[in-house]
């Protein structure tokens, strides 16, 4: 749908909302166009293209906010959205006020970051890259039995917010990504591994380095064995550390804290992590592909530390949780889709890197485990208490060097204890897409982690 037509619909929706008794009103629109190519056995096995859009309405009466959403854009849809939202207000009795907002100095927010390279994302280009990549992966080793999943995809589409207080926000960007997973078999033992790449210019994808990394992740797993249970110092690899922080990051939501769901409630200003650990948010981080100048409530974002040298500086606040806490919004109110409610999320997260490289981290640990992957993060954790018991993969560290691969082990501890047990932060920063932007994070050393295995050495 043409953006101009969507905007006309949204303005009409807001205009008509007062007829239904709404005191304040807001409309959100999202359009997404995507394309993906999957490769299997030397052929393009699947090609997908899409164009999807929807609009949501939220309106306020007596402090309560009614919502409704649809994919339709006709006159019936106007009535559906407004009457449904009104019906919903009829049952709401939320104690905490919701807000529709516009900063008069920043009422027209615009971020257009469409890459000129997006036009390179064609079926033929994706097919060519994918077929070549599949060949390279199969050539890694005769043990590689299949590339089970190889997908190249790209997406773009604007998000628009218009409200009765004068806000007109527009954001548009794009991305392209590649994921490949393969399995290999040696002497009846099967191992699987995968790797990904993302960016905004498909020409920056390097098949050679991608294949090398995938080789490490797949073939490195052979010869794995379990290990004796006990307490070990671990190097928690950058990817594994990202997945751990992300699992528990909901506890940094101001709303969860105000509602007493997060154990971080009342701890702003206190030391909650080791002094070597700083976790900050930077919407304009120079290494980030995605910049995020404003959130889904029309609040401009800013750089800040969540944890500064171990001290918990601030939680993520949106307009509502900030009002509950008697604070200002930190610009962390985001919607994950047009249908979603505003909740706490972030722009770009950065764990401040230390000075040691990965090899030096292993030398420091001397006798321990290097954890590369944490599995079952949606299952083996208590997201509130921070307790976890996770099936993981990695390598034994002996004499300060990487030794054999380990499998069938779990590590158990508590997230809040882990933050305090970080003894070193490395400098091997990697980036992964998370939240509204990316998460930049190095590997770390965690002292005394309980490892459960079932083998002698």
């Amino acid at each position: 749908m043409d953006v101009k037509l969507a905007e006309q619909f949204m303005l009409k929706l807001i205009e008509k909302s007062s007829e239904y008794g709404f005191e304040e009103a807001e409309a959100s629109f999202m359009n997404s166009s995507s394309m993906s190519v999957d490769i299997l056995n030397g052929e393009v096995s699947s090609y997908e293209r899409s164009s999807d859009q929807g609009v949501s309405f939220r309106g306020k009466i007596n402090g309560q906010m009614g919502t409704a959403a649809t994919t339709e854009f006709d006159d019936d849809a106007l009535d559906f959205l407004l009457s449904s939202a009104l019906e919903n207000i009829g049952v709401l009795n939320d104690e905490d006020e919701h807000f529709i907002y516009c900063d008069p100095n920043n009422s027209n927010l615009r971020y257009e970051a469409l890459s000129p390279n997006y036009v390179k994302n064609t079926y033929n280009r994706f097919a060519e890259i994918g077929l070549d990549l599949e060949k390279r992966i199969l050539a890694i080793d005769p043990a590689v039995k299949g590339v089970d999943y190889l997908s190249i995809s790209c997406g773009t589409g604007p998000q628009i917010i218009i409200n009765s207080k004068g806000l007109h926000a527009y954001r548009d960007d794009d991305s392209v990504s590649i994921y490949a997973g393969a399995h290999a078999e040696k002497d009846g033992v099967v191992k699987s591994g995968g790797y990904y790449w993302y960016g905004t210019d498909i020409d920056e994808f390097n098949a050679e380095t991608f294949t090398k990394e995938l080789e490490k992740r797949l073939m490195g797993k052979f010869g794995a064995r379990s290990m004796p249970s006990g307490s070990y110092d671990i190097v928690l690899g950058n990817e594994a550390f990202i997945s751990m922080i992300m699992t528990f990051f909901g506890n940094f939501s101001g709303y969860s804290m105000m509602k007493g769901i997060s154990l971080l409630a009342g701890k702003e200003g206190e030391t909650i992590a080791a002094s070597c650990f700083t976790l900050k948010e930077d919407p304009f981080y120079e290494k980030a592909i995605y910049k995020v100048p404003f959130d889904s409530e029309g609040v401009t974002t800013r750089a800040k530390a969540f944890i500064d040298k171990g001290v918990f500086k601030t939680a993520m606040y949106n307009l509502r949780s900030a009002a509950m806490a008697g604070k200002e919004s930190t610009g962390n109110g985001f919607k994950s889709g047009y249908k979603a409610n505003v909740s706490a999320s972030f722009t770009n997260l950065v764990v401040e890197p230390g000075t040691k490289n990965f090899e030096q981290l292993c030398e420091t640990v001397d006798d321990g485990v290097y954890i590369t992957e944490l599995n079952g993060l949606h299952a083996g954790v208590n997201a509130i208490s921070g307790d976890f018991s996770l099936f993981c993969e990695g390598y034994r560290i002996k004499g300060g060097k990487i030794s054999n691969a380990v499998e069938q082990i779990t590590i158990s501890d508590n997230f809040y204890s882990v933050l305090k047990k970080i003894s070193e932060v490395g400098n091997d920063l990697i980036a992964e897409p998370h939240g509204e932007g990316e998460f930049f994070c190095p590997s770390v050393i965690i002292k005394d982690i309980s490892v459960a295995g079932d083998a002698e050495e």
Binding site: S46, R49, S192, S389, S412
Partner: protein, 464 residues
């Protein structure tokens, strides 16, 4: 809704080049629900979305396009572009659409889409009030009721022309018990394809009390031990072990490309002889049921394992082409924005003959998991893990102290062989399964079973 003639035009456009098969999938979803936090209504929502997915196949090559724009000319243009992008194949004839055949797996007494939201609010509030007055350790309650109607129309170049209406309702309620810094949860989340009568008949107070008891018990529990030990898995959601450890690896998504650990295992023993298992999409009123799948094929009651022998895979159209075996009516998708693929419906281990009490009594030392959380599996290696939400130690055939934080890990192939006892108390439990075609409602289920040896990841040293 698209007319027969417009659907035929789209199919003609899709088949205009080299496709040997084309399918039009039209979908409308209406959803409404309420959410409460500590007895206050903090959320109430209403959504409607609709869209169309067009799939073309040439052998095992697939092109899938979808759009929320239902204008016939836009869709014809999309179908022509898809036809251009499809590689291989040779033109095939299009059969005229058959007369529309309508179905529904529902038998609804009270329409949940018309039930006043205030009724839903009152129901959750009753549970919330009960929980907060039950024990002062209960510090938080959250609850929701959501209902949805899904109308699908599937038409294809073979003349298939079907429509199904599916209505689902789900209740979710969770309590948090706090003891010092320790917070533990107890939850229920039953789902059904019955009407609002399902909610009216649900024993909410009894179940709320169970939730509170679990949360309170676990908040005071010590950590689970680590190491290999016999594990008894309680009935109902305990079936997530089978769903993860076996079910996913029987889907043609992985078997069809020979990446599953159960590839080429048909008619061989993959489980202990005490294990029989089914995937039955035709159980009336059950959360994971449907009469036609998202390819328009009739759903089935499929025996997956008989006395330990693998008898069937779950096969969709694409899997059927890859494996040269008939589709089993198990093709599903979250919505029109996904191409369908082989998925589970109501999947469970069948009843054995033993009482759960005798299984516990015969266990000298081990872990008894009464409530399991979610899990995940690598279908290539069979490695899985899942969490226990409530567990107890067993000593000398008796249920002893509760333990928290246990993760169960292993390889599907090994665990299936290690099931040595199967109870007679089969129960099904609603869940949502995520995979490449999105999230779909499924039930998992089993009677009480015992795995003779399984790795438990806990925080304390195990006993020898």
């Amino acid at each position: 809704m698209l007319s027969d003639s417009n659907i035929s035009r789209i199919l003609e456009a899709a088949m205009s080049k080299t496709a040997d098969f084309a399918e039009v999938f039209y979908e409308e979803n209406s959803a409404r629900g309420i959410a409460l936090l500590n007895g206050k209504v903090t959320g109430a929502g209403t959504n409607y979305d609709a869209g169309v997915g067009i799939r073309l196949m040439a052998g095992t090559n697939v092109v899938y396009v979808y759009s929320s724009d239902k204008d016939p000319d836009t869709l014809i243009k999309l179908a022509l572009e898809a036809a251009d992008a499809l590689k291989g194949g040779s033109p095939a004839e299009i059969k005229a659409l058959e007369a529309l055949c309508k179905s529904t797996p529902n038998r609804i007494m009270i329409d949940p889409m018309k039930t006043p939201k205030s009724d839903m609010v009152d129901f959750i509030k009753k549970a919330s009030d009960y929980a907060t007055s039950y024990n002062e350790m209960i510090t938080q309650t959250t609850g929701s009721i959501s209902t949805g109607n899904r109308l699908i129309r599937v038409c294809n170049s073979r003349g298939l022309n079907k429509e199904e209406s599916q209505s689902r309702i789900r209740l979710s309620f969770e309590v948090i018990a706090t003891k010092g810094n320790e917070k533990q949860t107890g939850r229920i989340a039953p789902g059904s394809m019955r009407g609002y009568e399902f909610i009216n008949e649900y024993p909410i107070i009894e179940k709320t009390q169970e939730c509170c008891d679990t949360a309170i018990r676990m908040a005071g529990a010590g950590y689970a031990p680590s190491g290999k030990m016999p594990v008894i898995l309680g009935n109902g959601f305990g079936g997530v072990i089978f769903h993860e450890a076996c079910g996913h690896a029987l889907e043609s998504t992985s078997v069809g490309i020979k990446s599953s650990c159960f590839t080429d295992n048909l008619n061989t023993q993959i489980a202990s002889p005490v294990v029989s298992a089914w995937d039955n999409a035709r159980i009336e009123g059950e959360w994971g049921s449907y009469m036609i799948d998202d390819e328009g094929n009739e759903s089935s009651n499929l025996q997956l394992i008989k006395d330990g022998i693998l008898t069937n895979y779950l096969i969709d159209e694409l899997g059927s082409r890859r494996m040269n075996m008939p589709a089993t009516g198990c093709s599903r998708r979250s919505n029109y924005s996904y191409a369908p693929t082989s998925r589970m419906s109501n999947t469970f281990i069948a009843n054995g003959s033993e009482s759960p009490e005798s299984i516990i009594a015969d266990t000298e030392y081990g872990l008894y998991c009464t409530k399991l959380g979610g899990g995940s599996v690598d279908t290539a290696t069979g490695e899985f893990n899942f969490a226990s939400n409530e567990a107890f130690m067993i000593r000398n055939g008796k249920i002893c102290e509760p333990v928290r934080g246990a993760t169960l890990i292993g390889k599907g192939q090994e665990v299936l062989m290690d099931i040595d006892r199967v109870g007679n108390d089969l129960e099904l439990s609603a869940g949502v399964c995520g995979s490449i075609s999105g999230s779909v409602p499924v039930t998992v289920g089993q009677p009480t079973i015992r795995v003779s040896s399984m790795l438990v990841g806990g925080r304390e040293a195990g006993e020898e």
